[in-house]
C-alpha cells in the first residue's frame, strides 16, 4: 500500500508522519499517535466528540483525511493545557461543574477555544451557537455555557 509523507504542526510541535492516504485524521491521532483525548462518538460528524482545531477552526476529525493535515496546524485537547498549567477553559469547566461523563468534553473545549480566540466577550447566544456541533447528553449545556463565559473573563491560570 502506498504511503504519503506529511508534515504538520500538532499542538505547537512540528511533526512528520508517513501514513496511508486512507487514514482518517481521528485514527491518526488516536491510533498512531496515542492522543486518545480526541473521542469517537459517531464517526459521521453528527456529535462533535472528535472535534480538533484545524488552523484554529473546529472540524470533525472523523470526516477528515490525515493527509489533509499536511502543511497545517492541528490542536487537540492534549495541546490545550497540561496537568501543571490548565487552560482557563479547562479550569472553568472544572470550577463550574461543566463536566459529567466527560466524553464530549475535549471536543467541547476545542469548539469553545476557537470561539474565545476570536471573541473574548461572547454572549450566551454566541456560545450556544459555537458549541451547537458538540452534543452533550449529560449536562443540558447550562453549566458548559457558564464555564465558557467565565473562562472568557479569566486570565491564564
Amino acid at each position: 500500500m502506498n504511503t504519503i509523507n506529511i508534515s504538520f504542526k500538532l499542538n505547537g510541535k512540528d511533526m512528520k508522519m508517513e501514513i496511508k492516504p486512507q487514514l482518517l485524521l481521528l485514527d491518526m491521532l488516536r491510533e498512531e499517535l496515542g492522543l486518545t483525548g480526541t473521542k469517537n462518538g459517531c464517526g459521521e460528524g453528527d456529535c462533535g466528540a472528535c472535534t480538533v482545531l484545524f488552523d484554529g477552526k473546529p472540524i470533525c476529525s472523523c470526516l477528515a483525511l490525515a493527509v489533509n493535515a499536511d502543511g497545517h496546524e492541528i490542536t487537540t485537547v492534549e495541546g490545550l493545557g497540561s496537568e501543571e498549567k490548565l487552560d482557563p477553559l479547562q479550569q472553568a469547566f472544572i470550577d463550574e461543574g461543566a463536566v459529567q461523563c466527560g466524553f464530549c468534553t475535549p471536543g467541547m473545549l476545542l469548539s469553545a477555544k476557537a470561539l474565545l480566540n476570536k471573541n473574548n466577550d461572547p454572549s450566551d447566544a454566541e456560545i450556544k451557537r459555537a458549541i451547537s456541533g458538540n452534543l452533550c447528553r449529560c449536562t443540558g449545556y447550562t453549566k458548559i455555557v457558564k464555564a465558557i463565559k467565565k473562562a472568557a473573563k479569566m486570565k491564564e491560570v
Binding site: Q22, D46, I59, L65, S132, G133
Partner: protein
C-alpha cells in the same frame, strides 16, 4: 476504505487525473463523501482531493456577479464581508448548515455536487440567479444552476467536467432577499424544507421576484408560476399569503423519515409567505 488517493496541485493536474484515470470521485470538504463511504453507500476507486488547488478557492466580485469558487466553505461564506453586504441571503443559508464543524469543512461546490434536494445553500443561490461554470480539458461551459440538478444525488455534468465557479448576482437597491429553513431541531439539522426568496420592488409594485424551495421535490426547484403571478402585483401581506397558498399547490414533495409530504406542502406556504415578507421588510417595504 480502499481507494487510490490523488492530490492535484492545479487545474491542469486535475484534468489530467480526471481524464487519465478510471472512476474518479472528487473530494472537497468530505462531510458528505466520507459519511457515504463509511456507510458503504459508495466505494470510490479514486479519490481526487481538490483541496490543493488554489484556483478553486476564493470569493471574487465581478460586475453584477460574485464569483464564489467551489472550495469556499460555508463558514467562509457566512463570514465574508462582501457576501454579507451584497448577497446576504447566501450567508444566511450558509449559517444554517449543520454545525460549526461542518461549516468549516463543507464547501459550496460540494453542497452543489451532492445534489441533495435539501441542500441549504442552493435555494439561496437560485434566487440570486446563480450560474455554474464547469471546466474540463475541452474548455469551459456555463449553465444555469437550476439546470444542473437531475435528481437526488444526481448532477447533470459531463464526464471530465469539474465545477470551477459559481456566479451569484449581487443584490441591488430595492432588492431584498431571505432564506427560510424548517428543521427538526435548531442545529445539526437537515432541512425538512427550506426556501429562499428574492424580490425587487418599484414603489409598491413587485417588479421581479424569484422563489426557490428545497426538499419538496427530487431537486431544488424554482416556483416560476408563483413568480409570474406575483410580478406586477402590489407587495403586501395579502398578496404574499396568496403566493404561499399557490406554492402549496404546486409542490410535490415525498414522505421520508424527516417528514410527511403533507407537512412539507403545508409548510411551503409559510416558507414562501414569510420569505416574501422578510425580503420586503429588508428593503423597508413592510414594518418589522
Amino acid at each position: 476504505m480502499d481507494f487510490v488517493y490523488h492530490n492535484p496541485r492545479n487545474l491542469e493536474q486535475l484534468f489530467n487525473i480526471v481524464n487519465g484515470t478510471g472512476n474518479c470521485t472528487l473530494f472537497a470538504g468530505g462531510t458528505d463523501l466520507l459519511v457515504k463511504m463509511k456507510k458503504k453507500l459508495i466505494e470510490p476507486e479514486n479519490i481526487v482531493d481538490l483541496k490543493g488547488i488554489d484556483d478553486l478557492k476564493g470569493i471574487v466580485p465581478e460586475g453584477e456577479f460574485l464569483n464564489i469558487k467551489p472550495l469556499v466553505t460555508h463558514d467562509e461564506i457566512e463570514n465574508s464581508e462582501i457576501i454579507k453586504k451584497k448577497a446576504y441571503v447566501i450567508a444566511e443559508a450558509a449559517a444554517q448548515v449543520g454545525s460549526p464543524q461542518i461549516r468549516n469543512m463543507g464547501t459550496v461546490g460540494g453542497n452543489i455536487g451532492n445534489a441533495s434536494p435539501a441542500a441549504d445553500i442552493v435555494p439561496a443561490l437560485l434566487v440570486l440567479d446563480a450560474k455554474v461554470e464547469m471546466q474540463s480539458i475541452q474548455g469551459q461551459e456555463e449553465k444555469e444552476l437550476l439546470s444542473v440538478f437531475k435528481g437526488p444525488g444526481q448532477l447533470s455534468i459531463k464526464k471530465g467536467q469539474v465545477i470551477s465557479n459559481i456566479k451569484a448576482r449581487v443584490l441591488a437597491e430595492q432588492e431584498g432577499a431571505a432564506f427560510m429553513k424548517s428543521g427538526q431541531r435548531k442545529a445539526l439539522a437537515i432541512s425538512v424544507i427550506n426556501g429562499a426568496v428574492w424580490l425587487k420592488v418599484n414603489g409598491n409594485k413587485i417588479e421581479d421576484v424569484r422563489i426557490a424551495l428545497g426538499a419538496v421535490a427530487p431537486t431544488p426547484i424554482r416556483l416560476f408560476d408563483v413568480e409570474k403571478w406575483l410580478i406586477g402585483r402590489e407587495a403586501n401581506e395579502d398578496v404574499f399569503k396568496k403566493a404561499g397558498e399557490m406554492a402549496k399547490e404546486v409542490v410535490k414533495p415525498i414522505d421520508d423519515i424527516r417528514s410527511s409530504a403533507e407537512y412539507r406542502k403545508t409548510v411551503s406556504a409559510a416558507i414562501v409567505y414569510n420569505g416574501l415578507k422578510t425580503a420586503l421588510q429588508r428593503i423597508g417595504g413592510l414594518s418589522q
